[in-house]
Symmetry: C2
Subunit: 153 residues, 2 copies
């Protein structure tokens, strides 16, 4: 999508459209915001999801809805979303900013390819977002790489 | 940053604040938007940058400026930026959407930790963003992982 002219911002989720979870538990002095799993302490889970042979990669409104659904499926809280539609290839770039980090997407419809990142901290499970992507974009193949960010060594 | 209350959106870069490159070369039928380097064809370069022992992680305006500077240093075109400031830990989450993909950041000031993603396609060099991050956040250590997304096999 290098040097493509943006068609402009096509969607903007109002920040009041949120599902805020109860923050009461966080108002504890000295709370540790890193997570602990399998004996490892780290900041958050980051899935790099590459979709091949996928469809619906040129429709920013649909992609916005799908990524928001994917965030909710993982138990995340949506704060903001922003998507761009590019010409001439019709690719879409966008991000959903979460209370628990973000989901981003960049699509290359001419190749049926999309690169999705699902970065979530806290109790969210980013793996629960993947079936939502699979149902919406119907990829022929998915390559998934799981990275734990900020591992305390 | 799990279940933290957002203080709200603190910055929003107007989309006219752009440095658009010449799109003329892209209006060629059948142009391939994947890049080719070292004999490998792929969609884009994705750097996962973990900063440890870092400073300035609780100031959303500063972080917004730094990420925009980092994008420009890499040769990227800024389309949109959005940052949130969280309480009570003072962490910041945000993203700069680029014509060439995105830069995102999530900070844990209480640990001096920040997770930055620099995803760029086209001719941009995301490695040129790293010195900008280093100068602004003065981390004691940086862990950098380079992923090529969408490798054509």
């Amino acid at each position: 999508m290098n040097a493509l002219m943006p068609l402009g911002m096509v969607s903007e989720l109002p920040s009041e459209n949120q599902m805020l979870s109860d923050p009461a538990m966080d108002h504890v002095a000295g709370k540790d915001y890193f997570v602990e799993r399998d004996g490892q302490k780290f900041a958050g889970m980051h899935l790099l999801v590459d979709l091949w042979g996928a469809t619906n990669l040129g429709d920013p409104e649909l992609i916005d809805r799908v990524l928001c659904d994917a965030a909710v499926a993982a138990g995340a809280t949506i704060l903001h979303s922003h998507f761009h539609h590019f010409s001439p290839n019709g690719g879409v770039s966008g991000v959903v900013v979460l209370a628990e980090s973000h989901i981003s997407i960049h699509t290359w419809p001419e190749r049926g390819f999309a690169a999705v990142d699902i970065f979530m901290c806290g109790e969210c499970d980013p793996h629960l977002s993947v079936p939502v992507l699979r149902a919406a974009f119907r990829p022929r193949a998915i390559e998934l790489d799981e990275q734990r960010r900020g591992i305390v060594r």
